[in-house]
Amino acid sequence: MSEFRDQHEQELPQLEAMKEYMEDIAIPSEVDEKIWSGIRAGRLRRRRRVYTRMAAYTACLLLLVSAASVRFSPEVAAYVGEIPALRPLVELIHYDKGLELAIDNDFMQPVGLSEEQDGIKMTIDGIIADESRIIVFYTLENMDGQKSVVNLEKVELTDNKNTSISQAFYPHEEDWKIIQGTIDLYPNEGASIPDYLNMIFRFDKVTESATNRPEWQFAIPVDKAKFEGLKETYDINQTVSVEGQKITFGAMTVYPTRIEIEVDYDPSNSKKLFYFDDLRLEDEKGETFSTINNGVTGSNISENSQVLYFQSNYFRKPKHLYLRASSIRAMDKAMREVKVDIDRKELLTRPDSKLTLKDIGTSSEDGQGILVFEMKNENPLDQNHMFSLFESTYKDASGQSFESHMASTSGNEAEYEYQYFIKKENYQSPLTLYIQDYPTRIHGDIDLRIK
């Protein structure tokens, strides 16, 4: 190469030797394989985003989803030994103090049922159950080290349609050894807990060859004596006003796995209240238990009334209890409509400039339309929080209502993409979507004594 010679260069013949030395480094034959692995991982990771599927019977549940399953990387597996040791199950629910307390207080029911299919061994490790909620802990083991990507495709209770199921599962990379996760079951109002949970799981494997779809079936025994009669109820019945918006807190029900509080919003409020930022239960020692921030966080009873779920301090047996909060995400009711011109791919109305429409696309899998929004939000209050922006119901210009069954978020808290899936229909533009959560707020202290 004669393009550029530096005066110092001639004095350093060693440098020239380096090039030859580098060229002597043999290229291992695995490098091509690694490139393909990288491509596959890239394809997966590009797709890796949190999907919220909204089945009809969960439409009234308020969901927040973050990682609820944990992947063991092969490096970690190698570190802990040839047969990787299982993590303490408590680590899977570290996001919920109440559930951690439940485990500490021996409230977990060990199960230990296993079934192996197609090289994947699934074990139901245990459950935590009471009348309001059942959490199923499971472990997947890749027995013969098959290279395949697994994705939890289906979870079903065969004989109980009156229960909602919530699960978060990321597609796992192909070199997995162990995956541990949890599945939440919520018996609907009035549904009884069965003596056995008859559950079916199906994992989709993305491999070159495998097209069979084995199912894992379990009859998981539930020891109901363990939680019978543990429920406690309190009447709060107090109304507060924050920036003129009236909120009434009704009955509180305490279960070991969660606490439920009824909340009513005055229909004459000018704003729609979305979520409390920091609503919490505080005991006489100042220990706080916040609302559940992963999984089902509440359920809507009607337009102006909902039940919010808190991490449970049941096992702390507090003497006194206060309900406190200082800010609420809310928006003028008239501002909640976002109109999307689907022909010109632009927003006709939006709450503010934080929200933009990036694109309108079509899902390659099922032809559904995808409205791709972008959210830019630097508010430090919203760290670790990506908003589920829109309600599942939307309308077109003719006034007809439709249901979206899927939404997804990807990116980071300051700048993320929110995809809203719409059915393949002949819509009359514009579509109207309704905001259900947004980083606009009202402020004011709430401080109620419950007991």
């Binding site: 190469m1 393009e3 550029f4 530096d6 005066q7 110092h8 260069e9 004095e11 350093l12 060693q14 440098l15 020239e16 030797a17 380096m18 090039k19 030395y21 580098m22 060229e23 480094i25 290229i27 291992p28 695995e30 490098v31 091509d32 690694k34 490139i35 393909w36 692995s37 990288g38 491509i39 991982a41 890239g42 394809r43 990771r45 590009r46």
Partner: protein, 179 residues
């Protein structure tokens, strides 16, 4: 098929096109990774991870001609982070020891010379190090280095000049103290 077409196809999601782009640079990628990470396993891991990152970001690549420089930049960022991570994990000494191992069989004086040179290079400022490595270890042109590091060619020439000067001084000093 020219790189323009390959990049366009890769952006559309054509994996074969993407593979053929990466493949053009695989030897360089592996060797640069090896020179940073000093062992085969980590270097292969780097190729995989950098391929993955490039795959995810290819839509952001504006100039198809710069694919190679862009890829090497991703690689160097990855390697720099990995090296830092290794040092944090206190694996630094082990890594250095591992690096010497495969060389044990080579001629002793050549080995000593190279180890001295490498250690002198590693004492240079980060930017000087990169310029020396890219130019002399991996045979990149000034233009390619400028694109990879996203600096004007003039800056690269200045860095190179200073780096070579520094290197010469260090090697001279080492030589004296060894004699």
């Amino acid at each position: 098929m020219g790189n323009d077409l390959l990049v366009t196809a890769a952006k559309r999601g054509d994996d074969a096109a993407f593979y053929s782009l990466i493949s053009q640079h695989k030897e360089k990628m592996y060797r640069i990774a090896y020179s940073y990470l000093k062992n085969e396993t980590d270097a292969l891991e780097a190729v995989q991870e950098v391929t993955c990152r490039a795959y995810m970001q290819i839509r952001k690549l504006k100039e198809p001609d710069y694919f190679g420089s862009w890829l090497i930049r991703i690689l160097m960022n990855y390697c720099a982070d990995e090296v830092k991570r290794k040092i944090r994990r206190n694996d630094g000494q082990q890594a250095a020891a591992a690096a010497l191992e495969p060389l044990a069989a080579s001629v002793e004086s050549a080995l000593l010379e190279r180890v001295m040179l490498e250690s002198a290079v590693e004492q240079l400022d980060a930017n000087y190090q990169k310029v020396i490595q890219l130019k002399y270890y991996h045979d990149l042109t000034i233009t390619e280095i400028a694109r990879t590091l996203q600096k004007p060619e003039g800056t690269i020439k200045t860095w190179l000049h200073k780096a070579l000067g520094g290197l010469r001084q260090r090697l001279a000093k080492e030589g004296e103290s060894n004699e």
